[in-house]
Structure formats: C-alpha cells, structure tokens
Amino acid sequence: MTKFDDELTNGRFTISYCDKCDASVWPPSTHCNKCHEITSWKQGNKHGQIIEYSKKENYYFCLIQTNDGIRILGRITNSIEPKIGQNVQLEWCGFDKIPTFLFKLL
C-alpha cells in the first residue's frame, strides 16, 4: 500500500505535491517527476470539471480534471446526463484493491 492508497482507504483524497516545483505530482509518487525531490502530501482539491464521459448500464463515468490540474476517471452519482465542462465535486473516495472516486454534478 502506498501513502495514496492508505489515505484513500480512510476516505481521504490525498495527492503528492512538489514544494520545490510548486506543482502537483500525478499519478501519486514519492518523488517529483520533474526535479526528483521528495514530495509532500496534501489534500486534493475536490472540485473539477468534466473533460469527457460515457455511460455503462445506468451510471455515467467521466474523465475529470480537478482544480489541482490532475485528471482522473470517476463515477457520477447523479443519474442525469453530464455536460462537457460541467463542474463536479468529489463526494466520496475509497480504496479496496482499486481506487473508487464518486463525483456529484454541480
């Protein structure tokens, strides 16, 4: 388990951050992929926008860019069709072998 997985298991969306580069490091890593300094961990921004989406069975799944500038695939908890660029908020996250990210439409 990585720090990211541990935090996610406890419902906390935590991302790695490079203080030297003043930038998020994504996917999560112990070292910055630009300067290779050790990263710190901070709470990820729970707000973002929909980049693309599709639907499986009765739920929508989306590529979302959060306000930290990172992209993630998540599930939409609303049953209405999302729009490109629509604002979303991370409602719940967890980790059980794989990560789960649930977003609600705003």
Binding site: P27, Y53, S54, K55, K56, F61, L63, L73, R75, I98
Partner: protein, 368 residues
C-alpha cells in the same frame, strides 16, 4: 549499423482455449524450424520472448525446449506492444554486431495479466480497457461527428479479412447492422467494436545482412523504426489524437526515407474500432479525408491495404504475440505469400503497435 531482415516466421492458431504459454511458444517456434532452410539450433545467437505472462525465465525455457543454447536470452514486456518492442531489441543486437541470428517468440494466454495496469490509479475503478476505449470513441464522435455505422465499418472490414487468415480466432463475417446492434458494453462501445484477448503465439527469425542468404531468398528488411512513450497512466492522454503514434511514425518514415503515401500495406493496432479511424489519420494514410471516409472507401472497394490479416478485432489479441503477428503478416505480404489476403504488388509495409491507450507506440517500416 548492419541491415537486419526477417527471414522466417511461424504462428499458432489464435484461440479462446486456455493453453500453457510454454506450449504456445514452442508451437510457433517449431514452425520456424520446419519452414526455414538451413536453420539449426547452433546458428541462433539469441532467443527473446515477448509476453505479459507471469511465468518466469521463458526465453531460457523456450531455448531448452528447442535445443538452443543462445548467447542472448531474455523476456520483453511492454503490454500490448511487447511483440514489436521485442523485435526491435533483436534488431538492435543484430545491427550492432552483437548477434547475427535471433529468434523472437511472442505468446500470451487468453487470461493474461496484461489487460489491466494496476499501477495506474488515474483510472480509478475503471481500469479495464473498455473505459479508455469509450472515452476515445466518445471524443472522436464529438470532434469528427463519427457515427456508430462508421465505427462498425472498421469491424465489418476486419472480420471479413480475418476469414482468409487461417490463424485468426474469428472466421465469422459480421454485417454492419449486426455490429451496430451487437451487445452494448457502454453507450459508446458495442462488443463487436472491441478486440478480444485470446491464446496465441507468433515467432519471427531475424538475421544480419551477411547471413540472410543462408536462410531466405526473400528477406524482408526492417528499414524504419519509431518508438515513443509519453506516460503509463491513461489520464494524461490526448483523447482525439494518438500522439505517440504520430511521433513514432514520423521517426520511422524518416529513418526509412519514405512517407505514408509510399506504404502499400499496413497492420494497424485496432484495439477498438475507433483506434483504426484515429490511426489511419495519425499515421498519414487518410491525407485530406477523414479516417472514417478512408476506411469506408477501403471497405466498399474491398481494398485490403489496412489490416489484411483482420487486425486485432478479427484475428484476436494475444498481447505478447500481436506485434509479431503484425510483422509476420507484412512479411508474408512483401514476399507475395499472403494467398487470398495478398495486396497486389506490395513492396513496402508498415506495422503500428500500441500499448495502454496509446500511451506508448511503436511503428516499423518493412521493405522487400
């Protein structure tokens, strides 16, 4: 650098049966011994295995099973493009003078672990390839007004081509209507839009320019190589362009001193139907028309230039074997040995092999 050619090939059938990877590797390798003149174990300097299987030490195992005692023996894993990358490793050994003759054998079982990249947390719970396939398809529809019918034409064409490929896992034709009405996987993918994992193995024999004549009168030369990896995680990808394929093809054309307009036949990585529509554009084939119009024209005129063996959708996708099967097909085409699949007068061919939603691409140019 020394010139390097493909001088032999062999393939198992691609099947949904669960077959041990060692058995698969042996089957396609045996065909090379059966069909390549003057080949004996002592002439092989290297054995490189391409696979996503969790079994260890497979190149040494294959060597022992076939009585080869190579100088060079190791495995190459790079998800879906393991095969083409293994061939490029063999090319490099030979071109540099470290080896003269190398056997490259690729295989995977139907249930292989290469379909899901667990490390990629950016995919969240949506770690199966159908989810990135859906994102690419939806974005292509949005940007190019691509219809489900245009996607289905790719599958109809490639399933039709696969009928004449004796190694393909599917020999069933599908109409456009059948494909459009096949089981819905997501709102943007039908089951017949998807390539399917299967068990299979393909091997090729590579030789240096000073040894080719011993094995073949029809060597097929590797004249261009391009490779690019932008990331491992899906979420950083462009959704409407195969960026790594654009770069890899540019480098391969440059090395071969050629361009898309001079390519007679190509094997394209159609993991999903949308991938072929994107690739024919991003590799430079469709020029001033859309990828969909280009593929529709091929289909309507029964032109087999793109994916004559049926692509991944028609032939099946045993990950570690796929890139090598593509190279085998282009070799057969350039040797005029492709029988019903033959593209008349093919002298120059291209292989396009990708991994993990085009986060990595490999392009090879082959010439007779």
């Amino acid at each position: 650098m020394r010139k390097v050619a493909v001088v032999g090939f062999g393939s198992s059938n691609f099947t949904k049966e669960e077959i041990p990877v060692e058995t698969l590797l042996l089957e396609s390798t045996k065909q090379i011994f059966d069909t390549t003149r003057n080949l004996s174990q002592d002439l092989i300097d290297g054995v490189i295995v391409s696979t996503n299987d969790n079994s260890k030490y497979l190149s040494a195992i294959l060597s022992e099973l076939t009585g080869i005692k190579p100088k060079i023996a190791h495995t190459v894993e790079h998800l879906c493009s393991s095969g083409s990358n293994a061939v490029i490793s063999a090319y490099s050994y030979i071109a540099s003078g470290l080896a003269d003759v190398i056997l490259v054998s690729g295989a995977d079982k139907i249930n292989n672990p290469g379909q899901v990249l667990e490390w990629d947390k950016t995919r969240g719970e949506f770690n199966h390839p159908i989810f990135w396939g859906s994102m690419l398809t939806k974005s292509h529809k949005r940007k190019f007004n691509t219809s489900n019918e245009e996607l289905a034409i790719v599958s109809a064409k490639n399933h039709k081509h696969a009928i004449d490929n004796p190694n393909a896992y599917s020999h069933k034709p599908h109409t456009i209507s059948e494909i459009m009405n096949s089981k819905s996987i997501t709102d943007d993918l039908r089951i017949l839009d998807c390539s399917y994992p299967c068990s299979g193995s393909t091997s090729v024999l590579l030789a240096s320019e000073n040894t080719v004549s011993k094995f073949s009168d029809q060597p097929v030369w590797i004249s261009g190589i391009g490779q690019k990896t932008n990331s491992a995680s899906f979420a950083k990808n462009e959704l409407t362009e195969l960026t790594t394929s654009v770069i890899a093809s540019r480098d391969a054309y440059k090395m071969a001193k050629t361009s898309a307009s001079h390519i007679d036949v190509a094997e394209i990585h159609d993991a999903f139907t949308v991938c072929e529509l994107m690739a024919v554009k991003d590799l430079g084939f469709s020029e001033n028309i859309s990828g969909a119009d280009y593929v529709r024209n091929l289909f309507n005129t029964e032109n087999r230039k793109i994916n004559p063996r049926g692509g991944l959708i028609g032939a099946g996708h045993p990950l570690g074997a796929t890139g090598i099967a593509q190279i085998m097909e282009i070799t057969m085409q350039l040797q005029n040995k492709a029988k019903k699949r033959q593209v008349d007068g093919a002298n120059k061919g291209l292989v396009h092999n990708m991994s993990a939603a085009a986060t990595s691409s490999t392009v090879l140019i082959l010439e007779s």
